[in-house]
């Protein structure tokens, strides 16, 4: 079992494929839930306030989903340098040299992000086999994804919890 103390040593290192896949899955889940909920609320509002009925299906739904995804990722990358899924997994997008991601490179990354899918997944292979764990859009935007969470606090929390449990089990 990997403990927080060991994870502390990996802070600032290139994030691996498992972390990035889970972050992507979390982002997809958030995008889907928020998009579905948003559509439902919008449909309810249109139905309630107007005599028309809002039908978002097919191409419109897909285009709306793509636009919402672009807004979701673009705003989070530009604003915070990470998406909500990345925050959950403790990842952060930085420039390839490690400096803070700026708006221009965030937008370039957003524009080139579909290439990972358009290449039928080949654009993601760099995350698994590349030395710097860069996907195709990372290479285009000159960015990288690294571990970045407060692992020091996590380590202290783990040590404190373990020490408290040990003292609790000691005979008085």
């Amino acid at each position: 079992m990997t403990r927080a103390r060991d994870a502390l040593q990996h802070q600032g290192h290139y994030a691996g494929p498992v972390s990035r896949l889970l972050a992507y899955a979390a982002d997809t889940f958030f995008i889907g839930v928020l998009y579905t909920a948003g559509i439902a609320l919008l449909r309810f509002a249109v139905d309630a306030a107007t005599p028309w009925t809002l039908d978002v299906e097919g191409v419109v739904f897909a285009v709306g989903a793509l636009a919402w995804s672009a807004l979701y990722w673009g705003s989070s990358w530009v604003g915070f340098g990470r998406s909500p899924g990345m925050s959950l997994l403790g990842l952060r997008i930085v420039r390839a040299d490690g400096s803070t991601l700026d708006r221009r490179h965030a937008l370039v990354r957003l524009v080139s992000y579909p290439l990972g899918f358009l290449t039928l997944g080949a654009g993601f292979l760099g995350i698994i086999f590349g030395r710097t764990r860069q996907a195709i859009y990372d290479r285009i935007a000159d960015t990288a994804v690294v571990y970045d969470w407060d692992a020091e606090a996590a380590k202290l929390r783990e040590l404190a919890t373990r020490g408290g449990q040990r003292r609790h089990h000691l005979p008085s």
Binding site: Y14, L156, A160
Partner: protein, 289 residues
């Protein structure tokens, strides 16, 4: 006779003749007169006696050479025996009287003696100066002396409480320059030796930290992140083994990971084309996590 000269200065009288407990001056002068006359008389008598002894000894020798001297000698001895006995008794009586006189005079002399004045006149340093301390110490076998010393008994006889009771701790502390001591302490070195992890894990501080900063969600998130990092490491090692990579890539961007953690560049300007494997890192280089 100069009385002042004979008595000396008032501060240096060994037997002071003035004062409440001393004999009056007239009596002392009379005693001196008697003693002087007596001593002269005795001296004359001793000289006369000595001459008489010599004459008697000569007469005895002449008499012994005459015929019938033996008989005459015995007759004289018999006649002189009572006289000798009387003389012996008188001598014993005189000795006894002299003894009694001394017993009365000596305490008076001792009482009249100013011992302090005697001590003042004694140069105590003179004998000490004549002692060769080095030679004396050279003859002392200190080891043997120490072997014979029972240190435990000596220490048991030391009253430490009494010793400490006499120490004024406040005065001692007041003389200590705490600032100078503190200035010599390398606080950074001490702090570097503190194991924060052990303190957090083994003290109540850890509990406080845990209660104030963590909840179920944060602990679950910490565990999930740590597990994910472990999974990433596992996948990375698997890929490197499959791809048979001999050297690892950089662990992270150069600004986030120290330079020495990265492997040396493959085409360094100063390296020879036929150079072998990269040189080992310096011994003081930190280990790559």
């Amino acid at each position: 006779m100069d009385d002042d000269a004979s008595h000396g200065s008032p501060g240096r009288d060994l037997v002071p003749l003035s004062g409440a407990r001393v004999v009056p001056r007239e009596l002392a002068v009379a005693a001196d007169l008697v003693l002087g006359a007596g001593s002269r008389t005795v001296g004359v008598a001793l000289r006369l006696g000595s001459a008489g002894v010599d004459v008697a000894r000569l007469g005895g020798r002449i008499t012994a050479a005459l015929p019938g001297a033996g008989l005459a000698s015995r007759a004289v001895s018999a006649a002189a025996r009572p006289l000798v006995a009387d003389g012996a008794r008188m001598r014993d009586r005189a000795v006894a009287q002299a003894q009694r006189a001394l017993e009365q005079v000596v305490p008076a002399i001792v009482e009249l003696t100013d011992v302090d004045a005697i001590v003042r006149q004694v140069d105590a340093d003179a004998p000490v100066r004549r002692v060769d301390a080095d030679a004396l110490l050279a003859r002392v076998d200190v080891d043997a002396l120490l072997r014979r010393t029972d240190v435990d008994t000596l220490l048991q006889r030391v009253d430490v409480d009494a010793f400490l009771a006499g120490v004024d701790i406040d005065t001692v502390i007041a003389r200590i320059d705490v600032d100078a001591i503190a200035a010599r302490i390398d606080v950074n070195a001490i702090v570097q030796q503190v194991d924060i992890d052990t303190i957090v894990e083994q003290t109540e501080i850890g509990t406080i930290v845990a209660r104030s900063t963590s909840g179920f969600a944060s602990e679950a998130l910490d565990a999930a992140r740590a597990q994910t990092v472990g999974a990433d490491t596992l996948v990375t090692r698997l890929v490197e083994r499959v791809m048979r990579r001999r050297t690892e890539g950089p662990p992270g961007p150069p600004l986030l990971v120290p330079e020495q953690d990265e492997p040396p560049p493959p085409s360094a300007p100063t390296s020879a084309p036929e150079a072998g494997p990269p040189p080992p890192p310096p011994p003081d280089a930190p280990l790559t996590p």
